[in-house]
Symmetry: C2
Amino acid sequence: MQDRIHTADAEPGDDATVAGWVHEIRDLGGIAFLILRDSSGKIQIKFEKDEMDEELVETGLSVSRESVVKVSGAVEEEPRAPTGVEVTPEELEVVAPAEPELPLDPSGKVDAELSTRLDNRTLDLRKDEVQAVFEIRAEILRAVREQFRAFDCTEINTPKIVATGTEGGTELFPITYFGEEAFMNQSPQLFKQLIAGSNVERVFEIGPIFRAEEHNTPRHLNEATSIDFEGAFCDQNDAMDVVEGVVTAAYEAIVENCQDELEALGLAAEFEVPDEAFPRLSYEEAIERINATGELDEQLVWGDDLPTEGEKALGDDVGGHYFITDWPSEIKPFYIKDHDDDEQLSTGFDLMHPRMELVSGGQREHRHEKLIEGFEQQGLDPEQFEYYTKMFKYGMPPHAGFGLGGERLVMTILGLDNIREAVLFPRDRQRLSP
Amino acid sequence: MQDRIHTADAEPGDDATVAGWVHEIRDLGGIAFLILRDSSGKIQIKFEKDEMDEELVETGLSVSRESVVKVSGAVEEEPRAPTGVEVTPEELEVVAPAEPELPLDPSGKVDAELSTRLDNRTLDLRKDEVQAVFEIRAEILRAVREQFRAFDCTEINTPKIVATGTEGGTELFPITYFGEEAFMNQSPQLFKQLIAGSNVERVFEIGPIFRAEEHNTPRHLNEATSIDFEGAFCDQNDAMDVVEGVVTAAYEAIVENCQDELEALGLAAEFEVPDEAFPRLSYEEAIERINATGELDEQLVWGDDLPTEGEKALGDDVGGHYFITDWPSEIKPFYIKDHDDDEQLSTGFDLMHPRMELVSGGQREHRHEKLIEGFEQQGLDPEQFEYYTKMFKYGMPPHAGFGLGGERLVMTILGLDNIREAVLFPRDRQRLSP
């Protein structure tokens, strides 16, 4: 459709061809209006019944909502029209008729359950506020990549079909791979480390991860997007600087490039870029502050993992993003390095949003012997990971990194209630299609 | 390592700390040199044995190749050094010693088989020319995304775990998904169409695809990167314009931003951006030209798929990228639309590089009834795809798109012999690890 222009580009005085969906028809008797919608916005098509070809009027006003039509005609100024212009059609073609009964109403006048929306994403995405989420999601990914490049990182792609999981504990989806047992990768962890140990030094990857966890909550997915960083000659503080940079860059890019989308979401007035470095609390400080809130029935003691209510209490207390650093070694995975002067204390960190955990990271164990010990302590067979561990014998520099949940980032930035709203086609225990 | 600078940033007159891998040690008797390598290049560390701390000299000259060392000292001009500067060490620390026997020689003095290289990617990527491939790969992805955005496309991510394959014919990897049968997606085809049918209109995705084909050739992978486009209100000619734009953008970005990498690959002198629109030959013209070359034992007739030798003969004849358009409908998948005036002729197209096929695309069938017919003709049960077909009942605009093989793009741009050279950790029938 080389001759078609976007409705937003239709200027008074033009003869234009526009095409899009029938958003609404308003028949006022002698005059009627068809509101045509496309990716750029909406435009009014005017039908003056007595002055126009009868068949054209009949076709234009009997077409069902959400049908695709193509209209050619003169564009004129009309202050009463929603966008200040209207088209008087000379030609009108119904390109793709819609059935009159829609499973979901894209005009948004009728509310729909999330599951109905997900079953009918094509229709759902014809709503401005839903389209806005995914336009912003795309902008977040763009901004994050740009920021990683500003940090001198190279984009990588690591395999999603793997022979062994990254961590023994988390559940894996098994695959049959030419008769062999294989799995869908739950994290690019081991692979990104292997690349950070080469001349490339600093890498990032944005790609799918797969977790067969039985969680079924508003903040878990079984297929998610992981934003990963790994950098040679970095420690956990460097990695936290990178986290701060990419998260802030995402907020900044939205302010700069997505005002229309924020408007559609009703967020334009309140949206704020985090304006300070995220506080870095040690795990010890974190449990003290949680205990001090009095929100928990039982006081936390050193070594406890933080319960969700504890995270919530601390989030309310801090009031913005914050890091928790220096976790007890025993509750962090084997590949996280301990502090040199205290083996009970790891260099692992989490980035928390008041609503949930966003990032897990740390400096990695780069010493071959210690790494093998770590596997054994975690009850994993180091032999199975030899493809990974052997590279630690040939000059593996100290390195650090993190994994940032892509959907959680979108969800917290936009204040979405359910993580499924941040994915086009979510995968969970109940949902495998579409 | 906040105090560490890249070797490329060490300026005469500085006191600097550099860290990296021991590339080489040259002991000339009274004087010796250690060449230190990092992501930015190499630098010479000078040891004047009689004038320096004995232990420092001993440590610096006995360290094995590929160990990681950290060196602090004065940077001085030295015209005879490889980069014109050298460091006289005041401190030297072996951060991560390497075993003396390396499974692969990163200096490149000893050739290695591809399988040895892939088993030891960390060491392999310490070679300039290997690192260059992956720096260029990253730049290609960056440039392609930027070009898609210039074409008004929104980045999307579609699921990799799916209930049904895109096409019946191609083999799928089965997964067990919470007790249900599922598959790893072989193409985002159906999902990207569902989004193009919404207000988003134009989408792109760069992500993994999985094909359980038993091919084991230098140009097939079982896990690959697909660069996908889909646009509402586009026909096959619009889609070909987009292909041309993104492929050309990739070449241009390399010229602009990757001269060092082209040098490392020995391609700087000969590298050329395609300077003209890619010729668009009809299938009919293509078989005529192939027959005219006399390279095939048997003449091709209408309806034949093009054999590899035929593609090769035509590629030599044309001498650059070219499209083949207007394929017989029966050898294109169900979702490709036929020409309105000839049902035997499809709107499908391929983009060919003289060495291989890069892209498959076309205008899509957007009419619900025709789509259902297509499923049946292809021996697929439309019921199984209802999640997809039902959206075609609610105003699915005409649309077109393509899938471009990411690794094939890298391979043809850089003239690599084997597609496995374009992937960090390739997956094929024999290779599941690392």
